[in-house]
Symmetry: C2
Amino acid sequence: MANRGAALDMAVLGLLHESPMHGYELRKRVNALLGWGRVLSYGTLYPCLKQLLRKGLIEPDTASTTPVEGGGLTGRRARIVYQLTAEGKEHFVQLLGHCGPSAWDDDSFGVHFAFFGRTDSQTRVRILEGRRSRLEERLDGVRLALSRTRERVDSYTLELQRHGLESVEREVRWLTELIDDERSGRSPGAPQSTNRGRASARHRTDPTT
Amino acid sequence: MANRGAALDMAVLGLLHESPMHGYELRKRVNALLGWGRVLSYGTLYPCLKQLLRKGLIEPDTASTTPVEGGGLTGRRARIVYQLTAEGKEHFVQLLGHCGPSAWDDDSFGVHFAFFGRTDSQTRVRILEGRRSRLEERLDGVRLALSRTRERVDSYTLELQRHGLESVEREVRWLTELIDDERSGRSPGAPQSTNRGRASARHRTDPTT
DNA sequence: GTTAGCATGTAAGGAGTTACATGATTTT
DNA sequence: AAAATCATGTAACTCCTTACATGCTAAC
């Protein structure tokens, strides 16, 4: 019970690990972090924070949290700035190390990847490979279905399946490149704020955009 | 109330429109139709069928449904073959015609696309264009977030965002090609079972696979 | 002075999953 | 005789969204 989307927990913990934040800010950062198409709603975020608080993984930062009384200087209404507790940090590090099947899930993988900068290369490779074989299973399933239905299906259905297949194949190639980079030490490595070597150059899109 | 995943309803209706089927078969076909990554479970499908039955959109095909008594000949256990009612067919045609915002959603779009063979070119173009602008909005959001955070973020987060961006951009280009094909009459058109012209040739992947 | 953005929450409900319950038939 | 596949369903639970409730501050 109470798994509250392991991916969301991890995203929140990871962002608070970087710097303390209040809920409103956190929501924007989570939405930016994972280009999840869908956006995180307050109805999900606040209950999540409440639960993390109850578990003792986060706590209000009393220094930064604006008290409603005395205000004047701040110019903002009361808000609760959260920070990680010691257990919270510990828990996040543990989540980071988990490289089992649960980390290959669509959402979970995205969050793990976003925090790769805090992991060691070995864990990264394990997650990358796990994710890849997960996608390859998917591929096999779709290819099988495609070969069985082929000819019995109209061109649009076929085109849809073909497009889906191509997307997943592309993702597999992406993972393979990342794994190769990782193994040969060409990986982005440390969480530097300089933008030299933002992942291998061959991934780049039009830089003038 | 009771929207029961408009996308699922439509997929079921559409498949039953092609030929009557029982639940077990239907599940496999739905899973093949939409390379949804996730698979449809019985816990979703059967309640859905129940509801469509209650709404009078589908009915058991008494001729094909195996009665448990008297069996002998069939060699299979009792199963319920469903077919569309007149209202069901009507409803499906209506769903097919809906080209408003709800049809641009990830799932909904996939189902609409899969049944494009039953629609007119005008509807197809409207759905394709709606879907494209939906994705372009998404793109704008991500680009904005990217430009605001750039430099403050480590290379892995950046790479994740870049990859997400590229995927969506690729999808936009795919839609643009389809729209062009549609406008110039180069579209796959009718739901033929011959495989001549399975969408424009330039979409093809390695045919030897 | 009203709209837009900041900020925190709750309640109701939708959509789907897992796990269970049941049992026949076919293959190994 | 066991295991896999066919076949239908229900119950409990999870995750998340929408819509609501509340109120402050900044900009137009």
